[in-house]
Symmetry: C2
Subunit: 426 residues, 2 copies
């Protein structure tokens, strides 16, 4: 397609000057609006300089389906009222699990258009009020309701099929998948906002000590892999995926403050520029050419890299859309970090760990941090924002002076993919 590879440039550059997350987890007492306000307060408390809420001129919220989760449509003005930012315009963006990734893109273009200088972009999802099968049903509605859902496809089934295809085509095995989970839980253990703040080893030890306390048979686990290969601890969900291959069901919200680059230093000592944005659309799974790669991810990343004027070699770290462990492996190949089929070996060799040459999902990823679907795209951006500012604490990447980070946010089975390149001024 001629159009997608066309070199695209923004009329004005855009920077991120703040970011905030609600706690990720299950919060029966909280509504979507409460979660968003919590994320907003977190952002305001962590901004480098003074900030007046009346500076905000326009807002976007990514949300997959407050309609089905809470029977609440038209969520955007409710959030605006709760924040106290009426009458500024606010718009809800929906592209399934890439909703806030797409929302960020709208915020960037709103500033680049010349209309606004200061735009709030966030995302939110309140999922845990439905039972698990209800959530699975709502998420399945992001697949094609005419051609896929009636055939029995759910998202674990879809990504199970992707994993099987990857195993058939390359030398991928079940251990590769579980090693992604081990890595991401080890990162999530260092993230105070994460839904799961324990390593797999800690979870294994907890299971052993519980068995001892209860006088039950004590499992004979020697390693994380022993634990993860025990079907009582890690049951099959949709072969070859097990419980620990799946991101959890999560309530949460995220937001960032975008400003025109020329005023960024009024808000932040170390603004982070949005150097490239890319979004592309893939065919539904039933109509896709292949299962082991998402065409939209490849197109979106190429667009974002071109806009930023970078190559893969320039990228210091990435947050990718690990809704399932196999999705992280496929993402690292689609983004060009590793050749097709080489993603699993890179996991084996520790290249995607915090001290590797391609650190992936230092936040814990969707897998351990949690996946409140509408919030995840902006949540990824916040992790890169913190890492590039050297503020990620114990989970700060080991490489000195990281400058360029990438986010990769997928909606559905690759129907939408949004890739951003973030860069710290050198």
């Amino acid at each position: 397609m001629a159009t997608i590879s066309k070199k695209r440039q923004l009329g004005r550059q855009v920077s991120i000057v703040g970011g905030g997350l609600s706690q990720f987890g299950a919060f029966p007492e909280k509504d979507t609006r409460d979660l968003f306000v919590e994320a907003f307060q977190d952002m305001v408390q962590n901004m480098d300089r003074g900030f007046d809420i009346e500076d905000i001129e326009c807002a976007y919220v990514g949300n997959y389906s407050s309609d089905l989760f809470e029977h609440q449509g038209h969520t955007a003005p409710i959030v605006a009222d709760w924040l106290g930012i009426t009458p500024i315009p606010i718009t809800r963006i929906e592209n399934a699990c890439a909703s806030s990734g797409s929302a960020l893109r709208e915020g960037v273009m709103a500033i680049a258009s010349g209309m606004y200088d200061v735009v709030l972009v966030g995302g939110m999802e309140k999922m845990t009020n439905l039972p698990t099968d209800g959530v699975t049903d709502v998420l399945a509605s992001a697949a094609d309701g005419l051609y896929e859902v009636p055939a029995g496809l759910t998202f674990p089934g879809i990504f199970g099929a992707i994993a099987k295809a990857h195993m058939d085509k390359y030398e991928t095995n079940l251990d590769h998948l579980l090693k992604v989970a081990i890595k991401n839980h080890s990162n999530g253990a260092l993230n105070s906002k994460a839904q799961f703040q324990q390593t797999v080893t800690e979870m294994m030890e907890r299971r052993i000590s519980r068995a001892q306390e209860r006088g039950q048979e004590v499992p004979d686990y020697k390693t994380d892999m022993d634990f993860l290969n025990d079907p009582r601890a890690n049951p099959w969900i949709a072969w070859p995926l097990r419980l620990y291959d799946c991101a959890p069901i999560t309530d949460g919200a995220s937001c960032v403050l975008l400003v025109s680059k020329e005023i960024a230093h009024n808000f932040a000592d170390t603004p982070i520029d949005i150097a490239g944005i890319g979004q592309a659309t893939g065919k539904p799974l039933h109509d896709s050419d292949e299962l082991t790669s998402l065409s939209a991810a490849k197109a979106a990343s190429q667009q974002a890299y071109d806009m930023a004027g970078i190559t893969v070699a320039d990228i210091d770290l990435a947050e990718v859309h690990d809704c399932f462990t196999i999705a992280e492996i496929v993402a690292t190949e689609d983004l060009g970090f590793f050749a097709p089929g080489e993603g699993p070996r890179a996991v084996d060799e520790g290249r995607t760990a915090r001290d590797g040459d391609h650190p992936i999902n230092t936040s814990g990823g969707l897998k351990a941090k949690g996946h409140p679907v509408g919030a995840s795209g902006v949540g990824q951006v916040i992790e890169i924002y913190k890492q590039l500012r050297g503020e990620a604490g114990e989970r700060q990447v080991k490489k000195a002076d990281p400058t360029v980070g990438v986010t990769h946010n997928v909606g559905g089975t690759g129907g939408t993919c949004v890739v951003n390149v973030l860069r710290r001024e050198s």
Copy 2:
């Protein structure tokens, strides 16, 4: 608020070079994707010059709730696949019944940002597959689910309350409301895409002739008002609103092609410029200061007029959001066409008719053309596009050479309002 009144300008000007509508009505055999393709084909067939689908670089679709109407989320990529425009980015915009109004604004900013030159913007809703009470429930979810819906509010109830407040505050009466319906049906009778293509007189005559055919008591109607005051023909829905005060439940889709102004003549002999765009957010009804005016409509229109550099005196015609007859009256006051409380008298005096000084809803409005909620905002734009190009046929406004038209699209109870100023090059 300092922010909302700030003068805003786009970095690049944007023009409309094509527009298309599906048939509006009830189509049990059609899905959302089918409706959108029908609108797209209508647009392509009516374009002035050659058009290649590969020219489209980016797309937006407004949709209120395919989630609740069809249990289909992530509708945007499905539409893209059906149109054959993957891999270009497509994003769903949701702001209740202002969804495609907001989508248009995103399309305008996407071009103004410098990212794209050619953007497709549309809207769609498939509503009639649910029973009427189901549709009422889905629409009610655009109100506040914590504070309003549990109190029993539905949209007919909400706009009934607005009508009652207007009647209490001003000299508005039930006849004023019905005269809006009579006017809009007389316009819709001339619109081949409309759901209702009959005048109220024709509907009255049909009722009389049916009674005669069936040997039933023949109603003694002398005028449209006799007919509309018969509760068997026009039953109460939510006092003071009756059936003919309410827009119908509709399946339909709409789309326009936006391009950067400098290339507009490559696509159209008579492009129509988007001279001003405004969007504002109102508090939920339970938290509003007054019922007889929508604060978001006033703020959005002021923003759009300022951007276009016009005053009310420059406006030749308007399409306003007449989801209920009272909503049209309030809209004409909020837009500044008439002073508060003067809207009803203007209807009485025929000032809002096709040959009046402020023609309103020449398309038939939501009332007669139909209201597929996510499609309505762009549907309004298409009517102004046709009128300013002199292509509205029998329903063309009487004033010579109309140059400036306005659209007014409301989401929920005024939680969102989008106002556009369209202008033909003179």
